[in-house]
Structure formats: C-alpha cells, structure tokens
Amino acid sequence: MTLKSLTGRTALVTGAGRNIGRAIALRLAHDGADVAVHYNTSVAQAAEVVRTIEGAGGRAFAIAAELATLAGIERFAESLKGTLAERGASGLDILVNNAAVIAEGGDTIAAATESSFDRIVAINLKTAFFLTQLLSPLLKDGGRVVNLSSRPSEVAFPSGIAYAMTKAALNSLTKSTAKEFGPRGITVNAVGPGVIETDRTVPRMLVRQEARAAIAATTALKRIGLVDDVADTVAFLVSDDARWLTGAYIEVAGGAGI
C-alpha cells in the first residue's frame, strides 16, 4: 500500500459540517490527515462527517465552537490544543479558515444594519484573523493555511456588499500572513469559489432552471460548480506540490467572468 500524501498530518477545517467545508474535510481525510471538523450549529451534520470519514478508514473528530466572539475563539483554540495532544499530535499542520456567513435580511448598502454588518465581519474576517493568531504557535514549520475567499472579493457585488468586503479583506490577510509565516516554510493562500451548489446557494439562486442555466452560462466551462471542485483545489494547496505557492488568490470558479 502506498502511503497517503497527508498521513501523519493534522488539519482543522472550520465550518466543516456542511457544504464546501464538509467536502474539504472529507478530501483531506481521504488523503490521510486527521481532521478536526469544526461546527457551530450543525451538530448532526458534523457527526455525520466524522462517521463518513471513519467509515472510510480515516481519522476525524468533531469540535464545537461559536466563533463570533474573541472569547469563543480563545476557548476553541484551547480546546483544540487539548484534543490534538490527546490524539498524539505535536501540533497542527493544516488550518483551513472556511467558516463564513452571509448577511440575513439583505446585504446591500441600503439594507445593511449595524448588527448584520458586525456579525458578518466578526465571523468572516475577525475569526480567521484571531484563529490564525492563536493557532500560530501550534502550526508546524512547513504547515499550510488556506483561507476560503470568494469570487466577489475581486468583482463588484452590490447584492452582497459586506460579504464581498470581508472576502477582499481576507485576501489581504492572506498576503500579509504569507509574508509573516514564510520564513517558517508555512504557505498561506486564498481560494475564491464562484457560485457553488450548496444548501445555502440552492434556495437563494439555483432553484429555477433558467436561473441555473444563466449561472452556468457565466462560466467558461458551462456548468455550476460543485463543492468537490473547490475541495480538490484546497487539497493541492495543502500538498507538498504547492510548496512554492504562497500569498496567492486562486480563483476556483470555472472561468466565471473572465
């Protein structure tokens, strides 16, 4: 049997109970990593992800945390350190900052409220910042950080204006942390999906056939993206093959809007 590429490595994927985060967790576990499946409210879903991974012979554990406050992030980092130590890991190899929210009740310049603004900044940006800060001592030399950005970070997106801003800020964080962690051999990259079919996007924009066709038509490859399309690129970024790629924004959108 050949050794899997991530055997012996540990990974944390935030927001891994559903959608893209789930697909990333499954793929990294498939490649041999021991995966911390973080969730907030998706209790049953996270348990299912762990069962699926274990059923396929992989290693994973679920870990809950509300990441909207710094106190929550601190508790989560401590808890993760403890669990990793119990599992015999000397640190963290891979951090995937995936957890994110979209604004409820409309994310336009007109509709945004202070509370919707603060919440989206807290979860999409502040969490990634402080989680990276707090887990930095745990990250091993040669480790990997992948931040889930979004195509709207690069283009005008008035219907999700605050969301797009947080993702653009995440791209900036990616560059600065790439420079900061580079001397340790740690790479930091951002991945920018286009419209991906998830339980979040389907009800909002992918129900009607005409809507689906219109979105597929905006891509060069003429289909709608799937969660595995994104997870497979993340798998590359955390692999040894990507060792010379850092501080980059990699769009995974099937050539949308090019």
Partner: protein
C-alpha cells in the same frame, strides 16, 4: 498498483531541453503521461532522462521563431505521436534578451524575436491544434512574475508574458465549453541555466533573491513543475483562465 493519474495521455512540452521545461516533462512522465519534448534542436537528453525513469518520450526539434517552424512542430507531433493534438499542451519555450531588453537599448530584431517566440509561437501552436484538442484537454502557458510588475530591465520580456496572461483568459473562455482548461503559471526567479550566471552569480545576489521571497529561498524547476502537474490533473478541473504565481511569495 494504482494507475498513474495521467496514464494514457499525451503531453507536448515546448522548450523542454533544460530548466523548467525539462522538469515539467519529467514530472508529467512520472504521473504516467507519454511525452513529446520539444527543443529548438530537439530535447534528446530530456527524452533519455524520461525513458531512463521508465517513461516514454520522443524528442521533437523546431525553431519557434517563425510560423514555418511552428507548423513543422505541429506536423512532427501528429506524425510521431499518432494523435492529431496533444491531451496536454505546455507552452513553456521562451527567451529573454537581457541585458539589451530596455527601452533605450532594445533593437527591432530582438523585439521581433521576443514576440515571435514568447507570444506568436504559443498562439499559433494552439491554433494548429485547436480543432483536435480532446474533451477534457489542458493547456498551461508559462508566464512570469514579471507579467505583474514594473520591470524596465526586461521591458519587452515582461510585456510578452502579460500578453500570455491575456491569451490564457481568452483561450479559457473559447475552449471552456469543450471542457478544456487553460491556465498560466508565473514563476519568479528560478535557478536554471538561464538565470544562474546572470542573476544568481554571487552569494550576495543569491541572498538578495531569496530575501525577496516570503519563503526565503531560491526557487527550483521542480517547484514549478509540481504546480503545472496540478493544473493538468483532474483535481484542477474547476480552475481555468487563472494566473497562478510561482514565486514563493515574492513581491507580496
């Protein structure tokens, strides 16, 4: 034994006699692809290295500074590989004209040659294979970090690589409906015959170049070929029209 990811595929790598092109050929062969390795005078040494490692390769010669040469390469590929177009085309061949590549010094002959080899050859090579690229094919164009920044010391080389990035996007859109992805990879300073004497000649120069990267070392051809291997793999099926930097975090 697990089947290799690129088994049954044919890859054409231009400029594969040395440096990054050679590393790409060796990596793709390791992943199971059959190689057509091009060099202006052939790439026999690369072909032998591929065969020695258990792979399959044929060497193709062709001077890419004229359209006649490009046509000859396309014809030789079809004749020797028994397929009308490669599954994977890696447009890697490129030249530099430094130290003459400045606004003040560059003459028309050098200007025309830079454009011919770095831009015109990839353009027409793709055109010659256009109708025959198989569904799920891949094109990777070797660009440069210099395509993204001001670099008056290599003014036209940088411009040719920016043109390649533009070509990459248009081709991605053109070929997308056929399931073919087209991407550009932009290396920073990589240690090769092309750069060793000119940019990496002294310890001081080496330290300066390494210091400019986030990862604090000098890039190697394998660092780039491993990125190219991803772009040719099924894992990269949803990445197209992209510019992927391969500079170790230089100039962030």
């Amino acid at each position: 034994m697990a089947e290799k990811p690129l088994s049954g595929k044919i890859a054409l790598v231009t400029g594969a006699s040395r440096g990054i092109g050679q590393a790409i050929a060796l990596r793709l062969a390791r992943d199971g692809a059959r190689l057509a390795v091009h060099g202006s005078k052939g790439a026999e040494e690369t072909a032998r290295a591929v065969e020695k490692a258990g792979g399959k390769a044929v060497s193709l010669a062709g001077e890419l500074s004229t359209l006649t040469g490009v046509d000859a390469l396309a014809a030789a590929f079809k004749r020797q590989l028994g397929q009308r177009a490669p599954d994977f085309l890696v447009n890697n061949a490129g030249i530099q004209a430094s130290p003459n590549d400045t606004l003040e010094r560059l003459g028309e002959a050098d200007f025309d040659r830079l454009i011919a080899i770095n831009v015109k050859a990839p353009f027409f090579l793709v055109q010659r294979f256009l109708a025959d690229f198989p569904q799920g094919g891949r094109v990777v164009n070797l660009s440069s970090q210099l395509s993204q920044i001001a670099f008056p010391e290599q003014i036209v080389y940088s411009a040719t690589k920016a043109a390649i990035n533009s070509l990459t996007k248009s081709l991605a859109k053109e070929l997308g409906p056929r399931g073919i992805t087209v991407n550009a990879v932009g290396p920073g300073i990589i240690e090769t015959d092309m750069t060793r004497d000119r940019l990496l000649g002294t310890e001081q120069m080496r330290a300066f170049v390494a210091g400019n990267t986030a990862l604090k070392r000098i890039g190697k051809p394998d660092d780039i070929s491993d990125i190219v291997a991803f772009l040719l793999s099924d894992d990269a099926r949803w990445v197209t029209g992209a510019y992927i930097p391969g500079g170790g975090g230089a100039r962030l």
